[in-house]
Subunit: 405 residues, 2 copies
């Protein structure tokens, strides 16, 4: 049969990601890769998980293997509510929905808020997975600038001119993928001002929030929102958290923290979409989080901090003039801007062929297809020695390209 003729119109927006296709080619052992943005598996708390699964099976596996409620495992929701309180968001388990990673939260929030043609505000560049999730709901995008300095009226008029309505702003406030950048307190407050002026929800993607290596922690936007509005029930910020960067991505456990009016709708959505996240995994994550979360994330911060510092030092040592980069205080990424006119996708070919190193060209992170002279480096899986060697090689490729241009 002619499948294309029966697909829904939204499928026109769901294309294979060039990056993901590319990444499949990059995991060759002889390549030093700064491409994938994934945790170092050597740092997983494997022993703690082994013990957690053993304990669950020793104390009766029936509940772990059975259907469970769409909201999520109660002790895990309680633990998360406590953790949210610790970072400045007083709430209860009724404000928490367990999702299959924060990627699922982004999909559900697109589904909750976007009708075709609605406007979503997000950064140029932004998290590729957010674009992927939202694209399924056929939105229009407009560019969110840090601090929201274009002003509510400008966004509203641009949407109206396109026959659209602004439905939400999406932002990663801490050590964002792909830039590694963090919003200042003032920028967070400005975003809240903008969301208030437009009367829209603010989606806060906090996937990397626990991984700060230096500098002072800045309160999550949701925390600032609760301080303004008096209670999480009066807040407009929807917070997406994840255990993927702290405990394990393979177990697919994340959460949404939001007013109950939002959680109730997301629970209905989850019931219809996959019933619930795996019961056993939620129990294991609850057990491991209760036991070792604080000390484990401290170990992660120590380890990744060294790699981050090594990359920043190596960039300073090896990048030619005209190349600039972000100064991440946490997370997994450094963002490079090359001289105007350079094409990072072209550069990647040379880097792979001539120097056996890999990174992600930045263009795919831009909703408008710009940003060809940018690239993303991840330091999460490389030792300081490999980082030094890799940046030396990147400098060599860049200098050759600059000479050729």
């Amino acid at each position: 049969m002619e499948w294309h003729s029966v697909f829904a119109s939204r499928m026109g927006r769901m294309k294979a990601s060039e990056i993901r296709e590319l990444l499949k080619l990059l995991d060759q052992p002889e390549v030093i890769s700064f491409a994938g943005g994934i945790p170092d598996p050597a740092l997983f708390p494997a022993e703690a998980f082994r013990a957690a699964f053993e304990k669950i099976f020793a104390t009766g596996a029936s509940a772990a293997l059975q259907y469970s409620v769409s909201e999520g495992h109660r002790p895990l929701r309680d633990w998360i509510a406590g953790e949210m309180g610790r970072i400045g968001v007083p709430c209860t388990r009724e404000n928490i929905l367990i999702t299959s990673g924060s990627q699922q939260a982004l999909d559900y929030l697109g589904k909750l808020l976007l009708s075709p043609g609605d406007t979503a505000l997000l950064g140029w560049p932004t998290y590729l997975g957010a674009l992927g999730a939202f694209n399924a709901y056929e939105p229009r995008y407009d560019q969110l600038t840090p601090g929201g300095n274009r002003g509510a009226e400008a966004y509203r008029q641009a949407a109206e001119a396109a026959g659209s309505t602004v439905k939400f702003a999406y932002v990663s406030a801490d050590f964002a993928n792909p830039t590694g950048e963090t919003l200042s307190l003032r920028e967070r407050e400005s975003l809240l001002d903008l969301a208030e002026a437009l009367d829209i929800p603010l989606l806060e993607d906090a996937a990397y929030q626990a991984l700060r290596y230096r500098g002072e922690a800045i309160p999550p936007i949701l925390s600032l929102d609760v301080a303004r509005s008096g209670s999480i029930e009066a807040a407009r910020t929807i917070y997406c958290g994840s255990f993927s960067k702290t405990l394990s991505p393979g177990l697919r456990v994340g959460w949404v923290c939001a007013p109950q009016a939002v959680i109730a709708r997301l629970v209905l959505m989850k019931q219809a979409a996959d019933l619930h996240s795996a019961t056993l995994n939620q129990m294991a994550v609850a057990e491991v989080a209760q036991t070792i979360y604080a000390e484990h994330t401290e170990m992660l911060r120590d380890t990744y901090a060294t790699r981050c510092a090594a990359m920043l030092a190596a960039l300073t040592a090896h990048m030619p003039e005209g190349v600039t980069w972000s100064d991440p205080e946490g997370g997994m990424f450094v963002w490079l801007t090359l001289p105007r006119g350079m094409d990072a996708a072209e550069l990647l070919k040379q880097a792979l062929e001539q120097e056996r190193i890999a990174f992600v060209p930045g263009g795919a992170f831009f909703a408008d297809g710009s940003g060809r002279n940018t690239l993303r480096l991840s330091f999460s899986r490389a030792t300081p020695e490999k980082i030094e060697t890799g940046m030396q090689r990147l400098g060599k490729v860049l200098r050759a390209a600059l000479v050729a241009a």
Copy 2:
């Protein structure tokens, strides 16, 4: 903020299920419940799973805890492809996508095929979770009759009159939820004829297919389709399988078997929606399936067969005249039709209050809101003794209601 004003239009179709709300009230220890349609947890292969998790953690947990590909764990896809071959569907792992239960497959297929207003054909009654999943994509429904005897032209014209297009037919061929009924070979062939005439895909929900207690197995619709069209790549049937009724629902592992053109699109969708199903769970299910699937499902069939027979015998013994019921050859359900004018939702109140028994009123399974004189009984979690007591009590409630009417 006024949340209702920012929700997408699809949220108007996503309502809390009365049944699910009801089911929360029914799990009281003193109630004999025939309501939930879930496996008996005493029959879970808990020891096999315990051993599988132990083995995975003993042989290196890094891969199990890490991100993995959206298509699913290769050894599990291979095992499923082999199992599909065994039931008459020659295919390879390239035809298999792992989903988080078959509920997720239904959500993805709605997302793949339905634009708002498109027509989906399905039975009156049908699986409540299918209605829930599809509702998010705002379809129009039309009634699929067994054998599709309304004819392609009638469906096409009805859709056209509503400004719509028929996009797929959805069916559960074996021991359907809620009726327990099975389509004959001829009815399956007729459905394929209808799908061909309308040039639409056929969605085959096979959640209960492995649980046949008597009678001859009838080939899956996908198998008949492959026999007609020569190859799975030329088929129009999309098969949704699940381990929820055979190994464990709590691990959330199911699959789609379909032409590669469909799988490729669903892989993109999964990447955007939740990246992949939990790696560890897929590895554990692969291990357990490879080890004990055949003998375990045989044990399940033996056990549930006894309960099914007990329920049918007890119905014959205790139902008053005018009540009829389906004759399931497998699965978990018997479907009762009460005399016209009776309301099963009213009856449930009396059954709970007077006799401490529970079932599911049938109305919710009808896309058009009819079927108020029907109800669903599940025999999966009750012993033959409880079934006998329960049906005796149901008969008493029914006779009282008939006298009152």
